[in-house]
Every structure is written in C-alpha cells, then in structure tokens.
C-alpha cells in the first residue's frame, strides 16, 4: 500500500508531459527512496515504546555484566554473589535516592550481598533467554523452510514431529529434560529449552515459505536452473526475515519466563549457580520477613520481559507494511 502511494507520489509531481514515444513511468524520483532496511529502521525508531524497551534492556544488560563482571573479569562492584558475611541492620537494603550504600539491595540470611546475587541472576537469565531465542529460531527456521519448500513426505514427517512436540505440555517436557541437563551448566540447559520451543516458529516459517514458493520470482529462479538450497537461502529466506526477527524477539521474552518458571520449580538452574527464578524460589519463604529478597528479582524479570516484548512490538509494526499512518 505504501508502495502504491509512493508511485503516485512520483507521478504527482507537476512535470511537463514527456514527449510522445517515451515511457510514461520515467523514474522521476522527486522524493528520496529508501531500501527496505532503511524503511524498517525508520519505522522502528519512531515507535516510542520500542525505543524505551531497547533503552531499558540495554541498561539492564550493561548493569548486569559490568557490575560484578563476567567470566573472571571483575566488575566495578566489589562484592561477589557467593561469599557470606555479617548481616548488617537485619539485611535491609541500604539504597536511598542518591546513594547506594554498603548493600543497596540488602543481604540474605547468610549475609550474602543481594545486589551481586540479583546481577548474577540477571546475567544467567539473559544468557539463557538469548541462547534459547537464537537456537530455537535456527531449528524452527530450518525445519519450517525444509517442510514448506520440499512439501511431500519431508513436510509430513517434519510437521508430525512438530505436532508431537506441541501436544506434550511444554512445562512438563522442559522440566524433565531440564532436570537431566541442569547439572551440565546453563548453556546445555538453554539448548535443551531451545529444543522444545522451536515449534511455533517452524509453523510460522513454513507458512511464509508456502506462500513465497508460489511467487513468480521463485518460478523464475527454478526455470533458469537454480538449485533448491540456493533458492531457499537466497530467494526465500531473505524474504521471511521480518517474520523471523519478530518471532525471535517474542521467543526471547517467553524464554525468560519459561526459565524463571522452571528454576522456580527447581528444575532449572541448579545451585551454586543462580538465576532470577531460582532467587525467587530460594527466598519465597522470606516474603513476609524480608520482602526485598522477593521484590528485586521480580522487578528485573518484569522489566526484561516487558522491554523485550515492547521491542518485539516495535519490530512487528516496522516490518508490517500494511499498517496505516493517520494524518
């Protein structure tokens, strides 16, 4: 629709009539033309919610990784998340309006600094969420593209497998596999979660591919003898990028919640490592006596999930050319 408008915008310029014989649709580009990527970027940066989400997510990520450091590199926060100490002032948060104090988020019952613990939990949750998002996207895209492009027995087989994954309750499935993999570290755990959450994307990509493979540019590519994989990689998948990116964003948001739920139930990240979910689980009994042990990880879960969802929303609007613009 926006393209049509643009066409008429070009023709709308008060040009003298081109002389007879020349084509009427001469490229009189009076306005600047944008590539598809530029268009998407423009629309995305106009979406206030998405920009706010992006800012919050960046802030949380930077905070989590720079404060306590990552992988042996130490950060600017001088305490770590494992060492115990004396409990000061009942472990109350010391954070005020313009100062942090000794333990900004307070301490737990054994005197561990709660800020450092929440930061570590955020790191783990973010890593898991992004690994799950990216890995499940890759699995889903490959399966969806193969099923959609080749049709026939490959499609039947892959889609039945997809159905099989869908009918098993996700939480139960993930809990069983996660318990087995939980001890092998967060990356293995994340890959296991990815292995059970690719189904939605596979169906989505298959649908896109089914409609794209009937387009004439794919027929044209086949008619000149292009191989199947080249058609998929060069002609079909680039045209599904919008759908895939948007779905990935939402997959990341739901992965955070899934990981949190599993860790809360005790099937996810295993001690001594912690995630936001396991923090809540660990201190759930302290809710009445030390509510901050519950609030801080809760707020971080909420902030991350919300900001990622907002980014996804902005991306979806940016990729959807049908959205109208009100004057």
């Amino acid at each position: 629709m926006s393209e049509d408008r643009r066409d008429s915008a070009m023709q709308g310029s008060p040009e003298p009539l081109p002389h007879a014989g020349s084509e009427i649709d001469d490229p009189q580009f009076t306005d600047k033309s944008y590539s598809q990527g530029q268009l998407v970027r423009r629309r995305f940066f106009r979406h206030k919610g998405a920009i706010a989400g992006l800012a919050v997510l960046l802030f949380i990520t930077l905070l989590a990784f720079t404060s306590i450091g990552v992988g042996g590199i130490s950060g600017w926060w001088d305490k770590d998340y494992t060492s115990t100490g004396t409990v000061l002032n009942g472990g109350q948060p010391t954070m005020g309006w313009f100062y942090l104090g000794e333990h900004p988020f307070g301490q737990d019952s054994t005197g561990r600094d709660y800020f450092a613990r929440v930061m570590r939990g955020t790191q783990v949750s973010l890593i898991i969420a992004f690994v799950v998002g990216i890995a499940s996207t890759m699995i889903g895209t490959v399966i969806g593209a193969v099923a959609g492009y080749f049709r026939g027995w490959a499609e039947s087989l892959l889609m039945r497998v997809t159905d099989l994954f869908i009918i098993i309750p996700l939480l139960v499935f993930a809990a069983v596999l996660g318990r087995i993999a939980g001890d092998s570290g967060i990356f293995v755990f994340a890959l296991v979660l990815a292995a059970v959450t690719w189904t939605g994307l596979a169906r989505l990509v298959r649908g896109e591919v089914l409609s794209l493979r009937e387009r004439e540019f794919v027929s044209a590519a086949r008619a000149i003898g292009t191989g199947n994989w080249r058609i998929i990689l060069r002609h079909i998948l680039p045209n599904t990028v919008g759908v895939i990116i948007v779905a990935t964003t939402f997959a990341i948001a739901s992965a955070i919640l899934l990981e949190t739920a599993l860790s809360y139930l005790g099937f996810g990240v295993q001690p001594p490592d912690i995630s936001l979910g396991s923090l809540i689980s660990e201190y759930q009994t302290a809710f009445t006596s030390r509510p901050w042990l519950f609030w801080f990880p809760g707020i971080f879960i909420l902030a991350i999930a919300l900001s990622v969802n907002f980014i996804g929303d902005g991306l979806r609007d940016a990729f959807d050319p049908r959205q109208g613009k009100d004057g």
Partner: protein, 597 residues
C-alpha cells in the same frame, strides 16, 4: 487549478446524479503529502455513462471512492461532492451508510473477492435489501430472484441458494451488478468491472450494463483503462492524467479527434487488431525447432477426485527466430503449457522437446545445462523479481547460477543488457520496489536474455501493464527478438497483442488446440467458431466501428443459437441522440456548469 474550500459545498439540484466540483484529495503518508486528485470537476446525469479513463496512479479510483465517503483516514478532501443532490462531505456516518446502496452503488473489479465466499448469494442479496428497508422475508427473496433474472442468471429460483464458488467469473460479476441494483440506485460506480474477465465475458457484461442503464435510467460512472470498453459503453469520456482531467467530451470526439497530447498518446498505444496487415513468415520452411510439443497432456491431481486435465493432447512447435502466440481465455491451459515447457510442472504424457531434447525424460544435470539456453518472463512485474535483491544482482543471477564469467564480465553484461532494455545503467543498484511496473518488466526481460537464450517463454508479460507502457515494452521486445533471434513462445489473452507480435498463432480452448496457423491466416480469416467469437468480442477504440462490430456479433450469436436471454439487445437510443446532449463538452468544465446544455 484552484482548490475549492469545504464551505462552498451546497446541495445543488441541477439534474445530475453525481457531481464533483473542484475535488481535491491529498494523502498524508510517511513520505510526505501526496496530491492524488488536483481539483477536478465531473458530472454524471441519469441514464448516462461517463467513462473515467487513465493509467494506474492517475487518481481514478480515488475520485470514485470519494463519492462513497470511503477514503482512508489519512486523506484530506476539499471541494464539493454531490450525490443525487446531497452533499457527501457534510453527511453524518448514518446518512452516508444510507446513501451507499440507496443512491450510489459500486461494482468492483474482482468478482472473485467482491462476494463473501461463506455466505449464500441469497443471504448477501437479502442483506442489502433488508438493511435499506426495501423488502423483508419472502418479499426480499422474490425481489432477489427478480434481480437475478434481470441480470441474466438462468434458473434464479434455484441458484439463489447457491454459494459464490458455484458460479463462473462472469456470473459472479452479474450477481455483483444485481446487488448493486437492489436498491434502485441513482448512480452506479463501476470500477474496472470487466478488467478481470475474458473478452467474451467482458462483451456480455458490457451488454448487460448497457441494457440495464437504458431500462432503469441509472447514471454510470465507468472507470477503466481500456479504450475499447470506453468505445463500447461510454457517452462521455473524461481522461485523467496525474490527478488532473486533461480532456473531457463526448466519446466519439475524444476517441476519434483527441485534442490533448496525452489522449493522443494513449490512443496510439492501444494495440489494434489487423493493423499489421499481411507479412511474410520470418522463418521459411523447416527451420531448426526451438520447442516442440507433441500430444502433451498435463493433469492436476485432486484429492479424492479424478485428476483434472488442464492440457489435453496439444501439439505445437516454435522454430528458431519465430514468435508463436498462444491465445485463449482463462482456464484454457495456456500458462500450464508455458510452465510445462519450462519443466516447472510434469507432463502426464506426450513429449516436450526443447532444442531437440525431451525434457520430460531428462535427469537433473543435463536439465540444468539445458535451462541455460531458455529464458523466461512472467506476468506479474510485482512478484517476478526477488524484492531483496538489487536489480543488478537479479539480472546477473542466471550467470551466477551457471557459473559463467567473472564478476567483472557479469557486471559488463548487466550494463549491456540494461542498455538493451532501455534502462539507465544506475538502475542496477536499485531495488525492485523503487521501479515502476514497466521498468520491472524490462528488468525481467533483461534477466531472461542474460544467457543469450535460444528459446524464450513469455507468460503474459504485458497484461499487468498500462497500455502506453505495454506499447513501449512490446516495441522493445520485437526489437530484441530481431537482435537476439531467439524462438519465443508468447502467451497472451489479448488478440491484438498477439497480432502485433506473433508469426504463428495457436488458439486454445479447454486445454485443446482449436485452431493454429500463420498469424494473418488465423486472425484475419478464422475458420473455427470459437476463434470468431474471440475476435468479435475484442472491442476496438472507435465508437462507430465498435457499434458495427457489436451488431455483427449479435447476428453471429443468433446464428450459432447463443443469445443472451433476458437482455434487451435491440438498438438503444442511437449514439447521435446521446451525443447531442454532451456536444461541446470539451476540456475542463467549470464547476456547476453542466456541459453543453
């Protein structure tokens, strides 16, 4: 053009059923404001057909939609729109809803999508009647039956309860017209009502509209890009170009003595049957065959049913350096043959030999090598280029796939091809969406020629283009064919286009060859009844000639015993009578002044 402000809008009752004065529409888009309609004035009187002609993007549809108050919210409308004496722009939503259907009705372009597929025809027709309080219950059913028989649907009592998919495309368009008529509107807006239909069906629908207009004294605003349809239907014509009306007058004046340059150019671009006369065959005797199809059968498999035979025992051949035109109506199997010749769909039986090799029995490797020697151009310029690849990469793609040349030599070839299709070289860095339809189709042709093919398969390459663009693309195509000397299978539904291009014509119907032979022989002296019907149904852009052709067609239909029942085909008021009313109406008419009276 001055912009008339909203305040001047007042109900004027001057005998027009629809009038625009100083209509000016702007759209606010992401890219700034677009001036779609620039202060135009038009009137439609009862019983009159005003044709609004122009190319895509000229603002025709925006003009007509504004009469229904259906423009999107980002539109800024100035000027006065009057429907049956009421001003549209001051109406409330409720009044607008009442007006739609009661005073103005719309006939859409695509009969396949204008009807709701999950509701029966009865439900949809009765809904319109009941909403407007015209008739309820049994009375509404009776009225619906009456309307259906009026538009020539046989056995309306039974067919009323059927669903849209049970009707053919032409019948669906008749139903849409019946629905438009259901509340006795004063004016009907027909937005390209026959563009999606075959010529023979188009002729029937135009007959229907003509007889209804005389019977009911309804005004019709006919939006079209086809000059033939204008000649066949219109009393007056307004030519729109870039949001402005450049010429307005009686159909005969505008079509036979156009004043404005643009109108002249538009009329020159219309391909005319028989304009090329007799020509010598380009390839004498038995040349080497580029494509030979022998007794080809293609079947589509349907679940739980007999397979559908789309192509049934077709034989044809294309010699090197010759253009063979494949003509037929939709569903005749012409595109299926083209796709089969490209190896995109398998043949059920028979053989397809490309450059002497039968592709139905080929393995993958040699097939790929053979495909190097075939080029292809598809119909839809919007979908035949990958939107994610720059044009230069698109054209170079075949060379890339077959690993021909270095990246430097490919770039040179792309530049050479862009010159050949008359596009500037810097187009190579643009994306398809930045080009117009005609330019995209040129890119498709350049891509098809990138490997110097010996056979080119062109599936309706110009039917999605405007006439003037079509003319220049066809001219370029003929020129390229002489230069590169490829054999070409050219699929089209347009006999005039085939007449301009082809050396040899094959006429298809329901998957079978009806007639084939040299172009002049088939098109000037058709032997088969079907070919004759096709030729007679194609309208020509001259009102007098078209009227003669129409009468000739009625005679012919009577001869073969196929009359359109229920229509009044006796001669309506003569053209001269109608002409008298609008004589002198030329150029732009000042608002409020009806032309010539």
């Amino acid at each position: 053009m001055t912009t008339v402000e909203n305040t001047t809008a007042q109900p004027i009752d001057d005998g027009t059923v629809l009038s625009f004065s100083g209509l000016d529409v702007k759209f606010n888009t992401e890219f700034g404001r677009v001036h779609a309609v620039k202060g135009i004035s038009l009137e439609v009187r009862p019983g009159e057909v005003l044709a609004l002609v122009g190319e895509s993007g000229s603002g025709k549809s925006v003009t007509s939609t504004s009469a229904l108050g259906l423009l999107p919210r980002n539109a800024t409308i100035n000027g006065a729109i009057n429907v049956a004496g009421n001003s549209v722009d001051t109406m409330t939503d409720r009044a607008l809803r009442k007006m739609r259907g009661d005073d103005v009705a719309m006939v859409f372009q695509e009969p396949m999508t204008a009807l709701n597929p999950v509701l029966s025809v009865r439900t949809q027709m009765v809904e319109a009647l009941e909403l407007h309080g015209k008739a309820y219950g049994k009375a509404a059913d009776a009225r619906a039956i009456e309307l259906l028989s009026m538009v020539g649907i046989p056995d309306p009592e039974k067919r009323l309860y059927q669903y849209p998919h049970e009707f053919s495309g032409g019948q669906r368009q008749r139903i849409v017209i019946a629905m438009a008529l259901s509340c006795d509107p004063k004016v009907i807006i027909a937005d390209e009502p026959t563009t999606a239909l075959d010529v023979t069906v188009q002729a029937e629908i135009l007959d229907l509209l003509r007889s209804l207009k005389d019977e009911l004294n309804t005004g019709i605003l006919l939006i079209t890009h086809s000059m033939g349809v204008v000649a066949d239907m219109a009393d007056r014509v307004a030519v729109m170009y870039k949001g402005d009306i450049v010429e307005q007058g009686s159909a005969r004046e505008v079509l036979t003595q156009p004043k404005h340059d643009y109108t002249k150019r538009l009329l020159d671009a219309v391909p005319r049957l028989g304009s090329r006369g007799e020509t010598e065959p380009v390839v004498q005797g038995e040349g080497p065959k580029a494509l030979e199809v022998n007794d080809l059968v293609v079947e589509y498999h349907r679940q739980g049913k007999e397979p559908f035979r789309a192509v049934d025992g077709v034989s044809l051949s294309v010699k090197r350096g010759e253009i063979v035109g494949l003509v037929g109506e939709s569903g005749s199997g012409k595109s299926t043959i083209a796709r089969c010749a490209l190896g995109l769909i398998p043949a059920a039986s028979g053989e397809v030999a490309i450059l002497g090799e039968d592709i139905t029995k080929m393995r993958r490797k040699p097939l790929k090598a053979l495909r190097k020697r075939i080029g292809v151009v598809f119909q839809d310029p919007a979908s035949s280029l990958n939107p994610r690849l720059p044009v230069g990469d698109c054209i170079a793609e075949p060379m890339d796939v077959h690993k021909i040349g270095t990246s430097k030599s490919r770039r040179d070839k792309v530049a050479e091809l862009l010159d050949a299709v008359e596009l500037p070289r810097d187009v190579a860095n643009r994306y398809p969406h930045e080009l117009s339809g005609g330019q995209r189709q040129r890119v498709s042709i350049a891509r098809a020629l990138s490997l110097d093919p010996e056979l080119l398969v062109a599936d309706e390459p110009t039917s999605a283009l405007d006439v003037s663009v079509q003319a220049s693309v066809l001219k370029m195509f003929t020129h390229l064919q002489e230069q590169y000397n490829f054999g070409c299978l050219f699929v089209s539904h347009d006999l005039a286009v085939i007449d301009m291009l082809a050396d040899h014509v094959v006429v298809l119907k329901d998957g079978k060859v009806v007639e084939q032979g040299a172009r002049h022989q088939v098109l000037a002296d058709p032997q088969e009844e079907y070919t004759k019907r096709l030729l007679m149904a194609a309208p020509v852009p001259d009102p007098d000639e078209q009227r003669a052709r129409r009468l000739e067609r009625y005679e012919f239909m009577k001869e073969i015993g196929e009359e359109d029942h229920g229509l009044h085909l006796e001669e309506a008021p003569t053209r001269e009578d109608l002409m008298g009313r609008s004589a002198g109406g030329e150029g732009k008419m000042p608002p409020g002044v009806s032309g010539g009276n």
